[in-house]
């Protein structure tokens, strides 16, 4: 029974993804300057091998190798949520041979990132590959089903806890607590495994998750209370977004980006943007996205920059931080 549902869900998602792919694949045909590339191109992944971004990088590399015959070397530069990679990219030659893959969030200011020596304007974004989706989830046995009933529950019991990993997730919980004037407490942990442990063991009331809870969602052990993105999520279409539920918290919007040092030659820039777009819309990449229960979306260079600068401005506004010069 469970298995059947999965395969239906997957095939639906799959056809959706293929539609998207068909609609955009002819948009940009890459034109590259003569003689580029004359040597292997490096992809520097801001996360460790085996993670989502790593697989994205390797699949894109494979797609580009197949369609253009280029040689791409994927290297992992993990550390500080891809800030180590960004720092390193800052010192790389802007010749088109060093391309970084990381999260758009690393480029966005937040009150705890004071130490970082870079700003998003130091980089040129070649495009994005997928949007990260987050959801508010709890054990199926929890006595609430959405934001309103969670608020009600928190008022009744006096306190409810939410396991969160990272600044963005913490902020959502803090903003909910403030809006409804309830004692909703974020319990920060190091990563999604720890927050899943706390949730499954019943030590916290709810959690915010990206993908780690999908197995539990499918087996019926957990339920989704809200989508924390700007739209509903395909694996829980009945669960409304924060906005639909009347919550004012800032939705979490982050995308996986490809970036290069800013002073990139315009011809090489156009070439790489085109090649990236083709790869993101390739069949093997769509296949990977199906496995991630997500979909391939290239927001394009301008779209990515807009997303980052908007979010940066919103956060600075929230914390009364002046804009960087």
């Amino acid at each position: 029974m469970v298995k059947k549902q999965t395969s239906i869900g997957k095939s639906l998602l799959w056809s959706f993804v293929s539609c998207v792919a068909l609609g955009t694949s002819s948009a940009l045909a890459a034109t590259c300057p003569d003689g580029f590339p004359s040597r292997p191109i490096n992809f520097y992944v801001g996360y460790a091998a085996g993670g989502g971004t790593d697989s994205i990088a390797r699949t894109l590399a494979q797609a580009i190798e197949e369609s253009h015959g280029w040689n791409i070397v994927v290297e992992n530069r993990p550390g500080a949520a891809s800030a180590v990679m960004a720092q390193e990219l800052l010192n790389a030659q802007p010749d088109g041979y060093s391309i970084g893959l990381g999260s758009s969030d690393t480029m966005v200011w937040n009150p705890t990132s004071g130490d970082l020596d870079f700003h998003y304007s130091d980089f040129h974004f070649l495009g994005s590959t997928m949007d990260s989706w987050n959801s508010f989830a709890a054990l199926s046995t929890a006595p609430f089903d959405d934001i309103a009933s969670l608020v009600e529950y928190t008022r009744e019991t006096g306190m409810a806890t939410v396991a969160v990993a990272g600044f963005n997730q913490t902020l959502v919980v803090e903003q909910l607590a403030e809006q409804y004037d309830i004692n909703l407490v974020p319990v920060p942990v190091g990563g999604s495994s720890e927050s899943m442990m706390l949730t499954l063991g019943g030590h916290v009331d709810a959690t915010i998750q990206g993908v780690a809870h999908l197995g539990e969602l499918r087996s019926g052990n957990m339920k989704q209370l809200a989508s924390l993105t700007t739209h509903r999520l395909p694996y829980a279409p009945d669960s409304a977004t924060l906005e639909e539920q009347g919550a004012e918290a800032l939705p979490i919007q982050s995308v996986t980006v490809l970036m290069a040092p800013r002073e990139l030659d315009p011809e090489i820039r156009t070439c790489l943007e085109g090649v990236v777009d083709e790869a993101v819309n390739s069949e093997i990449f769509a296949d990977l996205m199906t496995k991630f229960e997500n979909k391939a979306v290239n927001r394009g260079p301008d779209g990515v920059l807009e997303l980052i600068s908007n979010r940066d401005a919103r956060l600075r506004e929230l914390f009364n931080e002046p804009a960087a010069e």
């Binding site: 806890t161 407490v185 942990v189 496995k291």
Partner: protein, 503 residues
């Protein structure tokens, strides 16, 4: 549950014994042993490097190979620890304490033999648990909240304060230094960075591999300037490799206890095999009739930690495969592999993918048997390592450490960290400060801090939570009892030394 076991085992064996799976299992464990032997070249780095290959393999085959590297390296890690006083892996650090003195006495062969036997039994215990009790064990692991984690780590820290021989005060001081070093990096609770001095490389904290390889590896190389080669290894006959009857007799109980301790630590995500090997060493020293033998070549001190870290390695697959919750970076790699092949890890996986689950479990038996077959005949060859002159061997070791530390995260910064800790480790050793307690403090300290603060958050700041939750209360009681015992036995020993000096 049990009547399904036999068909499941058959299903698993039929998967594990296909030619391809057997081949990749062999490849994995041999490679694991090799990277285990070479100090610094870590499991995680090796698994990461081979990860792209797994895109083209069947997921079962891919996990069989990666897992083989993982548990194979624990066998290999012991070899360098015993022969050269250099742990191949951080979890083998404690095997140096008695393994190297045994090698000096010409018992290297026996130490290696018993470590292999212990490793096999430990791994077997972990695999059996996975076959029989994975569901109830995951329920137990989940029932552990922050309060239980904290109390249980407290027991570990107190138990381990006796790891090194010599001054207990120095040992405690080193635990504290370890805890302080662990503080550097991102504070998960607030998102602020601590003691990073603006260095982006320190945001994730000091690398465990770099720290361990510096303190044990580089420091040992510097130390070797003072000494000459062991040289006289005697004639390597089959007889010299086999443990004596006395050594065998002393080993069975440590193997049993090590299996238990290791399995328990393995099912707790996030604690890791290093802690389990430290704790089982400490436990053996506690229960020993003559604890003064430890640190001078006691076989128990080699067998127990090696058994425990292998049991922990195997048991770590339980939360990963059954819950989809990886306890370490290496386990996260295994999960990532499943996701890339379109398999959602989690409670449904055992039922939806029985061939994968049971195939992997049965391949663990195959792999461990292969490891024993590989390791026992190799002992004679490994022991000959000791005949290589130090002026050739040690520069090579420094090179391997640098390569290994660098490859863990492609960071030259970590290489410097290893070199700096090498100097610190050497200085400490000259002054009689042992590095083992420091490593334990470094691993346990940050975990304890996180769990403590989390427990306080959940209990609204009430310390009572540690004694009102029954499991936690039991651990706290154990910790207090251990503390009292330690102080009492220290007092008694001091008295027994004092008396003859008066007369």
């Amino acid at each position: 549950m049990f009547n399904e076991l036999l068909p499941n085992m058959m299903l698993g064996l039929s998967t594990a014994l296909t030619f391809e799976n057997l081949l990749y299992c062999f490849l994995g464990v041999s490679l694991g042993t090799l990277v285990g032997v070479i100090p610094g070249v870590g499991t995680l780095a090796t698994m990461s490097m081979l990860f792209p290959i797994t895109f083209y393999l069947d997921p079962t085959t891919a996990i069989i190979m990666l897992a083989g590297i993982y548990y194979g390296s624990a066998y290999g890690g012991t070899i360098a620890a015993i022969l050269l006083n250099l742990p191949g892996e951080p979890s083998s650090a404690v095997a140096c304490l008695d393994g190297y003195p045994m090698a000096k006495k010409g018992r290297a062969g026996a130490a290696l033999f018993m470590a292999t036997v212990g490793s096999f039994f430990g791994a077997g215990a972990g695999i059996l648990l996975m076959m029989l009790f994975s569901q109830p064990l995951t329920a137990l692991a989940l029932s552990f909240g922050p309060a239980e984690y904290f109390s249980f780590m407290m027991v570990g820290l107190i138990a381990a304060s006796v790891i090194s021989d010599g001054s207990a005060v120095k040992s405690i001081a080193m635990v504290l230094v370890g805890i302080l070093l662990g503080v550097a990096g991102l504070d998960v609770q607030t998102g602020e960075t601590r003691f990073t001095f603006g260095m982006v490389e320190l945001i994730d904290g000091i690398s465990l591999v770099a720290l361990a390889m510096g303190l044990f590896g580089i420091a040992e190389v510097i130390w070797s300037v003072h000494q000459t080669t062991i040289g006289n290894i005697g004639r390597i006959t089959l007889r010299s490799m086999l443990p004596t009857r006395d050594e065998l007799r002393r080993s069975w109980m440590p193997i049993a206890r090590g299996s238990g301790i290791g399995s328990f630590f393995g099912i707790m995500p996030g604690v890791g095999p290093s802690v389990s090997s430290f704790i089982s060493y400490a436990a053996e020293k506690r229960v020993a009739r003559e604890p003064e033998r430890f640190g001078k070549g006691a076989i128990e001190g080699v067998v127990a930690p090696e058994t425990a870290n292998n049991a922990a390695n195997q048991a770590a697959f339980i939360p990963t495969m059954v819950l989809g919750i990886p306890g370490s970076a290496t386990m996260a790699l295994v999960l990532g592999l499943l996701i890339i092949h379109g398999i959602t890890p989690g409670p449904g996986m055992m039922k939806e993918q029985p061939e994968l689950f049971w195939g992997v479990v049965m391949s663990f038996w195959v792999g461990n048997i292969l490891l024993v077959i590989l390791n026992i005949p190799m002992i004679g060859i490994w022991v000959r390592l000791l005949t290589i002159p130090y002026h050739l061997l040690y520069p090579a070791i420094v090179m391997f450490i640098c390569i290994g530390v660098y490859s863990a995260s492609s960071s030259i910064f970590d290489v410097f960290v290893a070199l700096i800790f090498g100097i610190i480790g050497y200085g400490g050793r000259v002054l009689g400060f042992s590095a083992a307690p420091l490593l334990l403090g470094f691993v346990l300290g940050p975990l304890m801090e996180q769990q403590f603060r989390r427990a306080m958050l959940l209990s609204r700041g009430s310390l009572e939570v540690f004694i009102t939750r029954p499991m936690s209360a039991a651990f706290i009681f154990l910790a207090v009892a251990l503390l009292v015992w330690t102080i009492w036995s220290m007092y008694r020993r001091r008295k027994s030394i004092a008396v003859p000096s008066v007369s």
